[in-house]
């Protein structure tokens, strides 16, 4: 039985925060989850950095207090309609956003951190926002992300009808696949398990091309079917190769009409439970929201 008891939603009062609240509201009403709305004020410009000069400015303290009280009010009024009939806790914190989001998730024992699409900074097509990247790196719970590329396809999570789960055959693969299968089955969605192999190198001599393709694809397909069986889930199985791994998965997700992509966060990463480089770029380039476990 899939269960999502506590969801953490970091927000910055922007429109994308409201969309996040809306989507989380739908999830929370379905699972009877408790939702924590968290806003973090980053006053770093007011704090003296390491260096010989450091001094407090008392008038800055007054301005800061006023700013915080405005933020508290905004927080109290935020997403009331979107989160109707949901048990909501509203938290205002000051400090480093990524650090506090992760801490809050840990204290709350959040089962999902739902990141809004936009942050404050400019949009860069091939990079994650810096707070999102740090949260993905440090958090212990699954994280839901949607980048700008995924915006046109941002469905209400309860309306997802096709979940794609990408596996790298690492130690987390079973766990990742099980999460994806449980989520899919909760909403009657189809599940496709996918593995990306390296594209046939363009410089490969002809006599090896078939062999390469054969070895790479058949081998991977065999392993993937085995994994699906071992995990006791129902899933279609595909193996793709199209440029590098993040690109191959992005193309596959688009072609197959996946509405949610589930991946392991430590994809192709030697350090356990760290953000693998593949995971980073898969999340960046995905045409739909991604949950990284």
């Amino acid at each position: 039985m899939f269960h999502l008891g506590r969801i953490l939603v970091p927000i910055d009062f922007s429109a994308s925060g409201l969309i996040a609240a809306n989507h989380v509201g739908a999830l929370a009403r379905h699972f009877h989850s408790e939702v924590t709305l968290l806003h973090v004020n980053d006053f770093s410009v007011l704090h003296p950095l390491n260096g010989p000069l450091g001094f407090g400015i008392t008038s800055a303290e007054a301005e800061r207090a006023e700013h915080l009280s405005r933020r508290q009010q905004q927080l109290d009024e935020f997403g009331v309609a979107e989160l109707r009939c949901v048990s909501v806790k509203r938290l205002l914190r000051c400090g480093d956003p990524a650090k506090l989001i992760v801490e809050c998730a840990r204290e709350d024992k959040s089962e999902l951190i739902f990141m809004p699409t936009h942050g404050h900074g400019s949009f860069r097509r091939y990079l994650l926002g810096s707070v999102t990247a740090k949260v993905l790196h440090d958090a212990e719970s699954p994280v839901w992300t949607s980048t700008h590329l995924a915006e046109p396809l941002m469905l209400n999570p309860t309306e997802v009808r096709h979940v794609m789960c990408a596996v790298d055959f690492g130690p987390q693969s079973c766990k990742v696949l099980s999460w994806a299968a449980s989520f899919a089955s909760e909403f009657g969605a189809k599940l496709t398990a996918v593995h990306a192999v390296l594209q046939t190198p363009p410089t490969l001599p002809d006599r090896y091309t078939f062999f390469w393709h054969d070895q790479a694809h058949l081998g991977a397909e065999e392993r993937l079917r085995g994994l699906v069986l071992d995990s006791r889930v129902q899933a279609d199985v595909i193996v793709v190769s199209n440029g590098d791994v993040p690109k191959a998965l992005s193309v596959a997700a688009k072609e197959k009409g996946a509405e949610l992509l589930v991946i392991g966060r430590s994809w192709a990463c030697e350090l356990p439970r760290r953000l693998g480089t593949h995971a980073y770029f898969i999340i960046c380039n995905a045409p739909c929201p991604v949950v990284s476990i």
């Binding site: 390491n50 400019s122 990247a133 190198p201 410089t203 065999e222 590098d244 993040p246």
Partner: protein
Amino acid sequence: MPSIKKILFPVDFSQRSIGAARYVESFAAWFDSEIMLLYVIDADETATRDSIAQRWLASREEQLETFLADEFKSFSPRRVCRIGDPTEEIVKIVRSWAPDLLMMPTHGLGSFRPSLLGSVTAKVLHDIDCPVWTAVHAEQTPPLQKITLSKVLCAVDLGTRSAHVLEWAASLANQREVDLGMVHATPILEPSPGRTPDRDLTDSLVADAKARLARLQAAAGTRATVFVNAGQPHKVVECAAREFGADLLVIGRHSGDGHDGYLRHNAYRIIRESRCPVISI
């Protein structure tokens, strides 16, 4: 071809800045460069730009004036202080001053996270076109007299930009009359459980790559020591760097062959994990 006459050095007064400064000093001495130190007060546009940040400007300018004064006394660097988004301000200066090289540590004040670049560095690498020098763990930079430039290793992927990357690295090595190496990683088929990678196939790919690299060298007029191995690019490069004794790595950063995505993830990983400094062009 690189003539490193102008170096832009964004600083944040951290230990990493202080460490990176030793490399900036070395480069400026080797290439007779002008230096600009840039400090940006990170201000959120909506909240603090006009009020509090302005009050900090005077004190930060003073701090910048005295920062690394001894180290840079023979260079008379320009010292510029700005308020705004660090990456945007760096980009503006790159456009207006047109440095030949931007030097910055991979991480600034924030915590070190092993599989991420510092966010300002990552954005700068993404947004600008000029060559960027980076170093990981800049706070552990050796003392000035121990900083060397004796072996430059150039990583090529045999894509459309490889010739340009090789020529840039070669020109740098020639100017300092130091050794040049070249490394390439050939793809490797994931072995299925119970099967070892096919030896014939691997050897064939390596041989083919060596032939292509030889043609690249001939066209560029270089005589670099060549390292070719099958495996993941960041690992192959790291092995070659160790074997060659490289103290500088030169790689391409922007993809020129129609693939999506600047800062392709191979470049990102190499920059993140290299034991020696990396110039990405």
